[in-house]
Amino acid sequence: MKFGVVVFPGSNCDIDCYNALRDVLDQDTEYIWHRTKNLGSYDCIVLPGGFSYGSYLRGGAIAKVSPVMDRVVEFVESGKPVIGISNGFQVLVESGILPGAFLRNNNMKFICENVYIRTESISTPFTNLCGKGQILRIPIAHGDGNYYVGDETLKRMEENNQIVFRYCARDGEVTDASNPDGSLQNIAGVCNREGNVLGMMPHPERCMEEILEGRDGAVIFKSIINYLKGGAVNG
């Protein structure tokens, strides 16, 4: 089982993702330079956070035309799991792999803080070890994380169970006060229709060990490992 962490010029959470998988969870993990044209040997691809190409034009907009992204599209079509975190999520929406788009945070600030998210779908390769409605405490760090999607697409996503995480209060209640950036319906993470691609704004790779004030992020990577080992996906 091999994980690949894509490195775009300007990625800055690539080392954290590598550390989470390789050092904390003891998985075979490699960096993938954005010019790579072959992803054949990987079982899961991680698009990490950061500021790919300086986030010029829009976050993720230039990265989507990187050579590796054609291969990522093929990887997605083959059904293998792909997780995009923060800027990686932006790359996934810009490339049309996931629905929606990102706007500037509604308070105009770059926000770096721990937030609570509620697991809305446990029937994905990324949340199969979560309990139903499990609340995770995971940090966010973004200035353009205000998720937007049109009404009709949102309706289809809800019908297909594609909303995976919502920002919530500590007790799990989804409230306006617990929405850090104005994201539509507190959406913090979504998957594609097939369920093999997850995009999330919070950074699970930043909370893998107690020394980092919590390890709620580990359940997401452990779920992927469980899935790749043939573990059941709920429901």
């Binding site: 788009a101 706007l103 105009m108 937007y148 104005g182």
Partner: protein
């Protein structure tokens, strides 16, 4: 040779927090007549195309595939013929 000016703006239905911040600043400077401010982007492109029709097609393709995100943004453009 052609010179394209591409204007990208948030769709009318999308809130524009930057535009609002600018509006508040202008009002605080006592420009009382300011009713609304929307902020967008201007991208200038020089093109080697031979005809304006060709240039326009190319610019529209660029907008749809990279320059604008049509989920949240609208675009317009002006294309001028210029001497090389």
């Amino acid at each position: 040779m052609f010179y394209a000016k591409v204007y990208i703006t948030l769709k009318k239905s999308i809130a524009d927090p930057q535009g609002n911040a600018i509006k508040e600043a202008l009002l605080s400077m006592e420009y009382d007549g300011v009713k609304d401010v929307r902020m967008g982007k201007l991208i200038e492109i020089k093109l080697a195309d031979k005809s304006s029709k060709e240039a326009e097609k190319r610019v529209r393709d660029m907008c749809d595939t990279l320059l604008a995100n049509t989920v949240i943004e609208d675009y317009t453009y002006d294309i001028l013929e210029v001497q090389p």
